[in-house]
Symmetry: C2
Subunit: 338 residues, 2 copies
DNA sequence: TTGAAAGCGCTAACAT
DNA sequence: ATGTTAGCGCTTTCAA
């Protein structure tokens, strides 16, 4: 059952059928109806592969997820999928390890699946214009931006929160509660990803409050995993007992920190406050409930897709959008008792 | 960059390149190597649409996820994606709400994306042969089976654990620790999904130990969400204080149960033991660490895809595979103190 | 072992 | 308004 069959059945040419199917204007109402009912009668369904080949494109949007072990991405991916689906496109997802090259993954996906556009999740984006040249389709960075690279702002889109400013807010909140010796637990302070930005925000907030930076209060997990976070937290607690609060740069890492504190008999928040970042649903049920900055994950996904589609469809230029987090006060932060 | 370019670059014909790319035998080692390195040098990636058109088929495998809010599916989806990718197919995912009709979603996906096969995740499978007739491609049920329907066992594949038997094992373990009054918290005891099977296993284990079933010890969340589980747990703890253990049919629901117990001052495990099901990574970091039955999620995904591909490629018939869980002893279950 | 050429089903100039 | 036809990039006979 091809377009040819439909054409023969109606006594018209294939191009006429193609026109009807693609809502082109130059078709008489009579013919259009005849074709449409033939399509229905014959249960004709277009062959997408042939369509794509003919158009030399597809309705595929690629989503490259770097470090899919981050639970924060789950909701995000879901909202991205919904937005892509709703717009009549197809999502092609590719999950790659945290240490993989997302540009290469994106470029290869783009070529093999003939993508219309790309969404990058969890990238580093320290890339330069020349490295990005391999990607010849519009793309949007979701939850991060080209902070460490030198891209032209009209060559890509991004939708994220201002990680550095939000981190300042988190640490400032701790300071407002009277904390002065504040530790930070993060993945890697120089990975040129959002973690580094949050680290910089931590430094900014300390400086702003006139608190000296103390390298011994910084603990890195090295890799992004709960297990690594648990071990890092244990190291930190073992090494120092003079800090009253810790900023953990992701909720999924903060939960192991709560566990480590518990296992070492360090009471949260009485002996040590903990603040996270991301706003995982799960962190509502940690013991104690995590205080955290909630990222607008639904909105991030929707906006990312919308921004990308606007570029693809020529409705708008590339944009950099910045959304806000919400401070969710849980039970893991308390006023410092001096 | 097409196969033509590669051919010209090597001074051979397109058919030769095609042969190399498709691992056809009749190519000399010399030419094969030349082509292979050219492919690498030129960063050639085949155009899937053209491949599909030429072969008159697609390499799309659909994955219909019902209730993607279940964190247990995250790893599973990842392993499914890897397996699909590794086999040279493309995953097309569709996440639908818990109350949606997965068969309809699958059938529609199948038609529009020309799927080769379907993986169902989190379905109910109380469907009958006539309802399934709408799906004219091979499919595999992952993490559940047609327990409540009347399908012919050679008309579909399934890869899952024996939920009922494993639930027996969980409850039996509690009984071995001396527990007699054991509550259960689940989604819905009659939803004809894995939850119901686990409920039946719970009943079996009680009966086997000569413990009377007590309807007042059964608490349903109604919908599948952590919030609902938290509220259900609070209801249960408020209503009864005579049970010493609770079996929660999913880890993601068990964590809110731990939280509810904590908030009500009910010590886990001293005053109440908790056992889960699934083996989320996150539940290693709950306070206390959850005792649970770990499902082999990687294996489930791999096997599901492999089984499906075997059918698609005509290498084997449909199969029903049953994998085993592993009891992971955490800190949430203790010997009952009488 | 290799090449030439005919499709695969559709789109989109280009004619009419 | 409609038809003709040349691709799109690849696979796969069929010849050589």
């Amino acid at each position: 059952m091809t377009i040819r069959d439909v054409a023969d059945y109606c006594g018209v040419s294939v191009s006429t059928v193609s026109r009807v199917l693609n809502n082109h204007p130059d078709v008489s109402a009579k013919v259009r109806n005849k074709v449409l009912s033939a399509v229905r009668e014959l249960h004709y369904v277009p062959n997408i592969s042939a369509q794509d080949l003919g158009r030399n494109s597809s309705d595929n949007i690629g989503v490259v997820v770097r470090g899919a072990e981050n639970p924060f991405f789950v909701n995000l991916i879901h909202s991205i999928e919904e937005a892509i689906e709703a717009a009549g496109y197809t999502m092609i997802i590719s999950q790659i390890p945290s240490d993989a090259d997302e540009l290469e993954a994106g470029a290869s996906l783009s070529r093999s699946k003939r993508l219309k556009g790309l969404v990058f999740l969890g990238g580093c984006f320290n890339y330069t214009a020349s490295e990005v040249a391999a990607i010849d389709i519009p793309f949007v960075c979701c939850t991060f931006t080209n902070e460490f690279g030198d891209l032209d702002s009209d060559s890509y889109s991004s939708v994220c929160v201002d990680d550095r400013a939000e981190a300042i807010r988190a640490v400032r909140y701790l300071i407002e509660q009277g904390h002065r010796r504040i530790a930070i637990l993060l993945n890697d302070r120089e990975d040129e990803s959002v973690g580094q930005l949050r680290f910089l925000g931590y430094c900014d907030a300390l400086k702003e409050a006139g608190i000296d930076y103390d390298d011994g209060l910084v603990e890195e997990t090295g890799v992004y995993s709960m297990e690594a976070a648990y071990r890092a937290a244990k190291r930190l607690f073992a090494r120092r007992d003079d800090f009253t609060a810790v900023f953990v740069t992701a909720d999924s890492l903060a939960m192991p920190v709560l566990k480590a504190a518990n296992d070492l008999g360090r009471k949260v928040p009485d002996e040590c406050s903990v603040i996270g970042f991301d706003g995982l649903t799960m962190s509502l049920y940690s013991i104690p409930t995590l205080t955290t900055l909630v990222q607008p994950s639904e909105k991030l996904g929707e906006e990312a897709v919308q921004t990308l589609l606007n570029v693809i469809e020529g409705k708008a230029k590339h944009q950099q959008k910045v959304l806000k987090t919400t401070l969710r006060k849980g039970e893991s932060v308390t006023v410092v008792s001096i």
